[in-house]
């Protein structure tokens, strides 16, 4: 199955690529709209700030391409936040693929950034958490998070509840790093590759 990792011109695409390679998938890293459109799966990674990443996507002329995709798309960490309408990080309009909002994690007396392994708890139907038994510990590192709303398909608690996974149709987001989340993360990536058409219609 063909998979393109969108080359967002920020560092560290390798670990996402390697994680899929461990599953036997051969990902292509590309910023070419045609290659992205024709892939069976698309991953939108991201590190850095929302503002810089949106600027990169605009400079690469990828905004409309990403908005018109119909195959399953997975946003990881900042990539998930870019899928939302808006991010408080730089007060920037994002891709609007999922009608959610990215806000700063509140300072609840715990260290920030939220860094380390935390549990991901399914909310409703979550085809990406198939064949995973609780507790699903995944690796997080972030200071901004998507607020819980009707698009939330998993939540996590760090002094406050936030959306650790979101979905609207064929667009999925994970706040944690499945590529660095051990066997559970690998299963989530495998589930992403095996999504059915029905899974992307909710």
């Amino acid at each position: 199955m063909s998979l393109v990792i969108v080359d967002t011109s920020c560092a560290n695409l390798s670990s996402v690529k390697f994680a899929f390679e461990r599953l036997g998938v051969k990902p292509l890293i590309s910023a070419d709209p045609e290659r992205i459109r024709s892939a069976e799966r698309v991953v939108l990674p991201g590190v850095g700030t929302a503002k810089a990443a949106m600027r990169n996507l605009q400079a690469l002329d990828l905004v409309n391409t990403l908005r018109e995709l119909e195959q399953p798309v997975l946003g990881i960490c900042l990539g998930m936040q870019l899928m939302t309408q808006w991010s408080a990080e730089g007060n920037v309009d994002c891709l609007g693929l999922i009608p959610a909002r990215t806000v700063a994690l509140e300072n609840s007396g715990q260290p920030l950034p939220h860094m380390g392994w935390n549990t991901v708890n399914a909310v409703g139907t979550n085809p990406l958490l198939k064949n995973i038994s609780a507790p699903a510990y995944c690796y997080f590192v972030h200071s901004y998070a998507v607020a819980i709303d009707e698009n939330t398909i998993a939540s996590t608690d760090y002094g406050q509840q936030f959306a650790s996974m979101i979905q609207a149709g064929n667009y999925f987001g994970a706040q944690f790093h499945p590529e660095r989340s051990g066997a559970i993360g690998a299963q989530i990536l495998k589930n992403f590759m095996e999504l059915s058409d029905a899974d992307t219609r909710t």
Partner: protein, 257 residues
């Protein structure tokens, strides 16, 4: 609930994992990749690879193994050692390192921390601090170039002041290595870690002194650190990660399992 992290540290020299007692007489432990994979499979939450010679010899870490590690393991890892420029950091992150840790070069050029954070984001910039308790003055003092005993020297910084400085410059995590304890296996420096925890708003990792499983339990219970780093107890199998995590979980310390 966020789990507390157990972090084996692999001190690397010339492509091999080594460990010394109080930073002296480095003894060879083994090859990097099999050890890394063994720890990942054993339940380590994160790994730190620290090229202990790099800073002192003005060399950069030998990079080829970073990508090999990234290909093989599926838990996060940090690379430390002699990283003193944006370009060096970019290369390591591009090869798959999740975080980079900076120590001596930040002491020489504190502005480096700001530049790294601006470029790559706070989440991947760790600052390592080598702190020595000077019994005579009763002060915690920051040392640099500790990878090589002949070049190791104290700086003008007291530890608490340097910690505040690096946090103000955007550091995303602190690894506090308590030098008096390093390699001696008599327990973490609880008093010092408590002091630094109180002023550290970012994740704080304890380093130096682990000799048995109880030491891990004490440092989590008493100093509320986010992670505990150790080398020799894991290399020598004195502490088995699965058993350690079971003990800590039973004691009410949240662990990933």
């Amino acid at each position: 609930m966020l789990a507390k992290r157990i972090i084996p540290c692999l001190d690397v020299r010339d492509g091999l994992v080594v460990k010394g007692v109080q930073f002296r007489n480095h003894e060879i432990i083994g090859d990097i990749e099999p050890l890394a994979e063994r720890y990942a499979q054993a339940g380590a939450d994160e790994l730190v690879f620290y090229d202990i010679t790099a800073s002192s010899d003005a060399r950069v870490v030998d990079k080829s193994w970073v990508e090999r590690i990234a290909r093989r393991i599926d838990i996060p890892f940090t690379v430390a050692g002699g990283i003193s420029s944006i370009d060096q950091a970019r290369e390591l992150l591009a090869m798959g390192a999740d975080k980079i840790s900076v120590n001596s070069p930040a002491l020489r050029d504190p502005e480096l921390i700001n530049r790294l954070v601006d470029e790559f984001g706070q989440q991947c910039i760790v600052i390592g601090i080598d702190s020595f308790f000077d019994a005579e003055s009763g002060r915690y003092l920051v040392y640099q170039f500790t990878g090589d005993e002949s070049k190791s020297q104290r700086t003008r910084w007291q530890t608490a002041e340097w910690l505040k400085e690096v946090v103000a410059r955007g550091a995303g995590e602190i690894v506090l290595n308590c030098m008096n304890q390093d390699g001696v296996r008599k327990g973490y420096d609880i008093a010092q870690l408590q002091t630094m925890r109180a002023i550290c708003p970012v994740p704080l990792i304890a380093s130096g002194g682990a000799g048995n499983a109880d030491h891990f339990q004490h440092v989590f219970e008493q100093a509320n650190v986010d992670g505990a780093l150790a080398a020799s107890v894991f290399h020598k199998n004195t502490v088995v990660i699965a058993d350690l995590k079971q003990q800590l979980q039973a004691a009410g310390i949240p662990m990933r399992y």
